[in-house]
Amino acid sequence: DYTVAFFAIMGSFIVLYIAIPLIVIFLKQASDWGMLVKTLHDELVIKALKNSLLTATATALISLLFGVPLGYVLARKDFKGKSLVQAIVDVPIVIPHSVVGIMLLVTFSSAILDSYAGIIAAMLFVSAPFAINAARDGFLAVDEELEHVARTLGASRLRAFFSIALPMAFPAIASGAIMTWARAISEVGAILIVAYYPKTAQVLVMEYFNNYGLRASRPISVILIGMSLTIFVVLR
């Protein structure tokens, strides 16, 4: 079937375009083992990685704390302005990252400038939609009838939520949390503006590149890719 073959060839260009840089960076790094080992002993890198993991984890937890209740309300209730709320939740996806940083600084100014709070604020803005939408979809997939039955058996609404809805939506919420975490740790543009310090690994990649060139920034990149891909495999 020539048509499908032609389409497959066209499509494989873009698949290769994504796959090749991933392979190349690992291969090149493999031939430069010493640099990778040296990087793993660089205190600055270790500190930055810790900062990244810490802030991304905090962001994911905060997203869950507020996103899960919001997701439940969006899944279970119809209310006036629901579509507006849903639209607001989806807005962060389309705003340029540097602009997100400016918006947050304009709004919260020195409260977030160059602090852990700033990093988390930037990450939260761009990644919270993933947690909210995953929770909403997770709760939508739980038959409301189950909660109804739990209530006729004597459970309050809150009890029915914790014993029925939450455990059943847990896998969806967990995978949403992982996506939130991955989106948070991938953010650069907004963090550069809001909180260059304390330095995160993704910012450090950029700094090493600017100061010492490609060879110096490559090992941190490989470590971050390794982490991201691990997350990604867990998710699937």
Binding site: D143, L146, H148, L153
Partner: protein, 344 residues
């Protein structure tokens, strides 16, 4: 014990209108109606899942209309059983007891007791999705009955089961009722369930409760044409009666009783006999008719006929259709006994 007073509710495409009835303690009450009549909406109002637009639900003399479901001491078994998929059968059944903070030993004893009565004691460690339809339904009933509810509400409990399982469960339901002595409100579209289980029956049609009584009462004396149609009187003939003769659409029909004036009579399609030759006997009404359409219903065929101005619908078996060679346009003889007519 349960009183429902002029409940009205608009919910999605369903419109309940002024529904009033009562269930006595120990009674098994059946609400019989076609799908789409709003039976589930009514049950959800009684459980407290939905609020009525107007009307009251009274349980043991207390007005519970505004109460949340968890305070009503009912148990509800929805049509899909709604077993908690993330819990074992044991935890499903124990759910209501744990909420009541009973001691662990008592919970264990109660779960085992009810599981034994329902014949599911060997399933207690299993997860719901590994159960068959019949087993799931037993678990749902156990989970509902173990909390000793004032009233058990069942929504089409046997609709999704295969025939054998269904027949067995209907039989056992009678036994459980004797053994455990609960009060039940059961909604269904199945005449079989109504006949087998119901102490009393309410017929629900498009959001209204049209007739309440014993199944025999309802079936032999339908309150109106609508109920009659639902009970299978597909042919409703209108005309002027004079003694035992009914004139309609240029035909003269013999009636089973004497009446005068404008009347309606009902006739079941299965009481009409079709033949190629006239088979006149003294007891029969017989006319020549033309086949207008043929409609298969599994092993049965519905034949739509026209005799002068009168439209009739008759059931015959698929084999008779092929033997007589019935098809659109064919001329046949239609006959039925006077005693098959039901005068409203």
């Amino acid at each position: 014990m349960l009183e429902v007073k002029s409940i009205s509710k608009d919910w999605k495409e369903f419109k309940l209108r002024e529904i009033t009835f009562g269930v006595k303690a120990g009674e098994y009450f059946i609400i019989l109606g076609p799908s789409g009549a709003g039976k589930t909406v009514l049950l959800e109002i009684i459980t407290g899942i939905l609020e009525p637009d107007s009307g009251k639900v009274i349980l043991d003399g207390k007005d519970v209309t505004g109460w949340p479901p968890e305070r009503r001491s009912l148990a509800y078994i929805p049509q899909n059983y709604a077993l908690f998929p993330h819990m074992s059968v044991y935890d499903n059944i124990a759910f209501g007891l744990k909420l009541r903070r009973l001691p662990k030993e008592e919970i264990k004893r109660k779960v085992r007791d009810i599981a034994e009565v329902l014949g599911i004691d060997h399933l207690l460690h299993r997860k719901p999705k590994t159960l068959s339809g019949g087993e799931s339904q037993r678990v749902a009933i156990a989970r509902a009955l173990v909390i000793e509810p004032k009233l058990l509400l069942l929504d089409e409990p046997f609709a999704n089961l295969d025939v054998q399982t269904r027949a067995r469960l209907i039989g056992e339901m009678k036994r459980w009722r004797k053994e455990l002595g609960f009060t039940a409100l059961h909604v269904t579209h199945s005449f079989e369930e109504a006949v087998s289980l119901g102490d009393r029956v309410g017929v629900m049609l498009s959001g209204r409760l049209v007739q309440v009584g014993s199944i025999r009462e309802v079936f032999s004396r339908p309150a109106n044409e609508e109920v009659a149609r639902f009970l299978g009187f597909e042919n409703i003939i209108e005309g002027f009666a004079k003694g035992r003769k009914l004139r309609t659409n240029g035909l003269e029909i013999e009636l089973p009783v004497e009446v005068h004036g404008k009347v309606r009579v009902g006739l079941r399609p299965e009481d009409i006999i079709l033949s190629l030759e006239p088979i006149r006997t003294s007891a029969r009404n017989e006319f020549k008719a033309t086949v207008e359409a043929v409609e298969e219903l599994g092993p049965l065929v519905r034949v739509r006929l026209r005799a002068r101005g009168l439209e009739l619908s008759a059931f015959i078996t698929r084999s008779s259709m092929l033997e007589i060679g019935i098809g659109k346009g064919k001329e046949v003889y239609v006959s039925f006994k006077a005693s098959a007519l039901h005068v409203f």
